[in-house]
């Protein structure tokens, strides 16, 4: 009986160790996102799927969690839910948190997906990961904190224009939702965010 109890104890310790490590890692990594949630007033967290993704329901049906998309991602923006988004355990499907690292639209992942959960996309302009929204009361030029234009410079599809060479404006038709603007935004609480209404996590 002693041996059995010892084995049980070992198993439990391993379990606690893994869960504890993951939980602490989750709280460490989630600060940017928490700040954003607070100021943007969303009840739910926001995340993006890699480019070329099917609508959320179909995506969940098709994805077999093989991880190839994340293996080939050169910026390593694609993560998996077991990699502890906000410390929660979720089904293993790829996601992107643009505020921490954004997609640079190399479209490698769409070519390698074996299931068609990420459909091949030819041109950068055809991607629709979400829609950039600008909150003017957070943006530096609008609140008279000096000129910035980081989002204008970085946008790969020229979907942001500068009014009066100072105030950024999002051109909704052109925006592909890659999230580079959100990543480079100088504000700690991002003034520009990619919102994909269909892909909010339920809390």
């Amino acid at each position: 009986m002693n041996r059995r109890e010892l084995l049980k104890l070992l198993g439990l310790t391993a379990a606690c160790g893994i869960l504890g490590e993951n939980a602490s890692a989750g709280t460490r990594g989630g600060n940017t996102e928490k700040n954003n949630l607070f100021r943007w007033g969303y009840q739910q967290e926001n995340y993006l799927r890699p480019p070329g993704a099917l609508p959320e329901k179909k995506f969940m049906q098709a994805c077999i969690s093989c991880g190839i998309c994340a293996q080939v991602c050169p910026t390593q923006c694609i993560r998996f839910f077991t990699q502890n988004y906000e410390g929660r355990l979720r089904a293993d499907t790829p996601y992107i948190v643009a505020a921490e690292r954004a997609c640079n639209l190399c479209l490698e992942c769409t070519k390698v997906c074996p299931t068609g959960a990420l459909m091949p996309v030819e041109e950068k302009q055809d991607v629709r990961m979400g829609q950039a929204l600008l909150k003017e009361d957070l943006c530096l030029p609008y609140i008279k904190q000096g000129g910035c234009g980081a989002c204008y410079t970085v946008c790969p599809v020229n979907a942001i224009r500068l009014d009066k060479q100072r105030y950024p404006k999002v051109i909704a038709d052109k925006c592909v939702g890659c999230g580079l603007c959100e990543e480079v935004c100088l504000q700690k609480v991002k003034a520009v965010r990619i919102i994909d209404e269909s892909r909010r996590l339920k809390s």
Binding site: Q61, G67, A70, Q76, T82
Partner: protein, 322 residues
Amino acid sequence: MQATRKTVQIAVLALIILIPLFNYYGNKIQQKDEIAIGKSIPLAAIHSLFKGSDRDAVITLSHQVKGSIWTIDIWGLKISDPLAVLESSVTALYLYWPMILSIFIPLLFTLILGRVYCGWLCPMNLFSETVTMLRKLLEKTGYRTRDINFSSKTKYTVLILGLSAAYILGYPLMVLIYPPSVISREIFNKIYSGLWGYGILIIGGYLFMELILSKRWWCRYICPGGAVYISLSRFRLLRIKRNNNCNQCGDCVPVCPYDLKPMTQEISAQCDLCCRCVSVCKPDALDYTFSLKNALPKNTKATTPGKPNGKPNGKPKQQEKK
């Protein structure tokens, strides 16, 4: 033969680790993240291998082979596990042609060689065999392990229940419990995020059960992937056949991990071609036969070996011992 099989299994496990590691290295090179490369020992080892070579060439080379044992992409040739394809197609009720084509190679191998994936490639098999050895050691110390048996047809129930649950819930559930998928994802997660996920608990749980409760229960009774391979390998061309040399010693019966009886030709599609029975057979009475006739359905009734073929030592071994 056993040594070859072990080598193949270990090589496959090494590849499951090396492919994501090399891809990760390629990503880090592309990001010019020298600090991360210096910090990690395996990355530094790979880096020293490619010291003099061209950076762009290393990046392209690192992304030539990607994936794991669950789904792999070798120079653009995609190969997927049949269970993955089946599940994804059933859950979405949609056939994505590139994915259907990717099971062609596993299908071909299974139709020719049988359930060879389970015996030779699956990393879970390697772990299970190690645990079985540990189990024997544990038994030697005097610990009484239990061996719970249930029907080997439970696999099909698990497969059908899993598929219907996946269809109802809209999520391919079996990827969360199927060992090749879980193992490869855990290794990938460890390399890419430095964290272990819950999968290690799942695999640890399976192996723990195998250690004390039921001998090799996952492969024998539960594995839904095994169920897919078994249903395909009913029509296999390569089979193990008994010839007239058999002296009914019965050595081949206890070594079979799936409780098959090669001595009396009771080899069903469960056979994963591990070849233990062939290597243990002293009079060379078991052959690999390869013919189209094997694929045809026939009388599967068990036959007892015919008369001993006139050899002096043709008597059963048990009697000789007495």
